[in-house]
């Protein structure tokens, strides 16, 4: 058995950035292992788009035209069959929710070893090992695999290679889906909720989380962002609760940003949020819980009541800037 199979998620005619990172990483590792990197795509993908994965190092793309995209279990069916037929040793996923679901299901199906939240993949004795931060990122553990290995990256962990000009061979595969994979059906996909706000270009972001206490708490963030000349961002928890628009969400299923200043108010700093802004130049956190994980990676941490601090800070910023 040899070879690496990477899953490439697509939506509206374009591949997911983290998936391209996954394909790039698979290609890099395959060249070190002396094997090939392949990709799998599901559903309605044009010949041209599928073949374009060759630009990132995939030599072959398996396309399951008839399987539905957007749900994990049909992809498990496809990948399990492709891996068995073509004999791939490893499956690799860029960061993202679907990759976690598919990778876990695939591990069960193939009785393989699986590691999630992987930040780095290495080679040891001709095999892949995966590094994964654990315990709130306070330690890194290394996984190795007794047999087949399934490696699921953390969001943004795998860099997308500069595109080359190679074309991948596209092979259509017919896969009979498991009966249970057909018992979930997508009704609507990719619905946007709330206003469309552009936060990716902002140099300064003031982000709010559940610690704001109520939706109106965002008014404090907005006032400070205005004074600083920045924009307002949010965590998944408050977006899911309907406090703030989805387009402002940072993290695992939201956006990734790296502004000059990320000021987090009432945010505990869970890993799924952290991965979306950790490359910011300066991280400031205000939280009343001195145990909040965010203090472990902020440059300036303020333990206190944001309701007292934010209004005064806003006034002081205004006064300073004149």
């Amino acid at each position: 058995m040899s070879g690496i199979l990477a899953y490439a998620l697509h939506y509206e005619g374009a591949f997911n950035k983290n998936s391209l990172g996954g394909v790039s990483e698979a290609a890099k590792l395959a060249s070190q292992l002396g094997c090939e990197a392949h990709a799998v795509v599901i559903g309605d993908v044009s010949d041209e788009l599928a073949a374009s994965l060759g630009n990132y190092g995939a030599t072959k793309v398996f396309r399951a035209k008839d399987a539905p995209e957007g749900l994990a279990q049909p992809v498990v069916d496809v990948m399990a069959q492709v891996m068995d037929d073509a004999g791939h040793q490893y499956a690799l996923f860029g960061g993202g929710l679907l990759g976690f679901e598919i990778g876990a299901g695939l591990a069960a199906r193939l009785n393989a070893g699986v590691t999630m939240e992987v930040t780095q993949v290495n080679l040891a004795d001709g095999k892949l090992t995966a590094e994964r931060p654990i315990h709130g990122d306070s330690s890194i553990s290394t996984s190795s695999y007794k047999d087949r290995g399934i490696i699921i990256g953390r969001l943004n962990a795998f860099e997308t290679a500069a595109p080359g000009d190679a074309t991948a061979e596209v092979e259509d595969v017919a896969v009979a889906l498991s009966e249970f994979s057909t018992r979930a059906t997508m009704v609507t996909r990719g619905e946007q909720r709330g206003a469309d706000v552009d936060i990716e270009g902002a140099n300064i972001l003031v982000a709010g989380g559940r610690g704001l206490g109520k939706p109106e708490g965002f008014e404090l963030c907005e006032a400070l962002a205005d004074a600083l000349g920045g924009a307002v961002a949010a965590t998944r928890a408050v977006v899911d609760a309907g406090w703030y628009p989805y387009s402002t969400q940072i993290g695992q299923t939201g956006k990734t940003v790296s502004p000059k200043l990320y000021l987090a108010a009432g945010i505990s700093g869970a890993i799924q949020h952290k991965v979306g802004f950790q490359s910011s130049e300066n991280i400031v956190a205000i939280n009343k819980d001195s145990n909040a994980p965010i203090f472990e990676y902020s440059d300036l941490g303020i333990v206190g009541d944001l309701n007292k601090i934010l209004p005064k800070l806003t006034e002081a910023v205004k006064a300073k800037k004149g």
């Binding site: 941490g301 333990v303 002081a316 300073k320």
Partner: protein, 264 residues
């Protein structure tokens, strides 16, 4: 309708974290409690029961873990589960995600539930993928991070946030659903429920009782080997200000921002 809720005991987040100076690792001994994310799954089960769309005959809390995990089951029962099942066996120690999912699926097979619920992740950060593993062994449809779940006879309509926005998915029962923490606000157990929890039926099972093959669990049955712990690259520790006098605190923040030319 029968609902099984998978729960787990985790170190209590309210207990102050300590780093063991000898190893540089987190000291995770001390108080353990029900994984807070799991309380949302139990609450979701209770809301299905109280919603009246379908009749819920039983809510069963299921866990795998050492003796101490009984406490998590008691908590789950105090929050509304009718009874609990505790899978405990020395040979399970060191099981990876796949082996754990296999073992839990064996417990669930015996119960043959219409709906399996679990929390979105464990508080000790191990994995939020167990639902997908269990579902594959049970051959049930599955969805994770569900924040809205409407139940009608034989069917679920679920909403969740994925890569490109909100998805709405229709799922036929039986199914395995892991719920996001935005799905509900878990209730607090009443004192009476806490006191009564220990009297509710608790079924303790070992691997032989439910047909778990010993060579598929534990360290030997796991396909991934974890080890070689090392410390992450050190980031310079940030400055911490305890807010006592807010005017003073704000002045310090302004100076800090100004120094980094963030106020120009």
């Amino acid at each position: 309708m029968k609902i099984c809720v998978l729960v787990k005991e985790v170190p209590d987040a309210a207990v102050e974290k300590r780093i063991n100076p000898a190893t540089g690792r987190m000291d995770r001994s001390g108080e353990r409690n029900l994984n807070p994310y799991d309380t949302h799954a139990i609450e979701a089960a209770m809301q299905v029961r109280e919603g009246g769309e379908v009749e819920v005959d039983e809510i069963i809390a299921v866990t795998m873990g050492p003796d101490s995990a009984v406490r998590a089951l008691h908590k789950a029962v105090s929050l509304g589960a009718d009874r609990s099942v505790h899978l405990s066996d020395e040979s399970l120690a060191g099981s990876d995600v796949v082996a754990t999912g296999y073992a839990l699926a064996k417990v669930l097979e015996r119960e043959s539930p219409d709906l399996v619920l679990l929390g979105q992740q464990s508080d000790d950060g191990e994995c939020y993928t167990i639902g997908a593993v269990v579902a594959d062994y049970l051959k049930m449809p599955s969805l994770t991070q569900v924040i809205q779940m409407d139940v009608t006879p034989g069917k679920l309509r679920c909403e969740r946030q994925a890569e490109y926005g909100y998805d709405t998915v229709e799922i036929q029962l039986p199914a395995v659903i892991s719920v996001g923490d935005a799905i509900n606000e878990p209730r607090y157990p009443s004192l009476k429920a806490i006191m009564g929890a220990k009297k509710k039926p608790l079924d303790a099972v070992g691997i032989g009782d439910i047909g778990i093959e010993a060579d598929r669990v534990g360290e030997a049955g796991s396909k991934v080997v974890c080890g070689d712990f090392k410390a992450p690259p050190k980031k310079a520790a940030g400055e911490i200000i305890e807010d006592e006098d807010t005017n003073d605190t704000v002045e310090k923040i302004i100076a800090w921002l100004d120094e980094r030319k963030l106020l120009s």
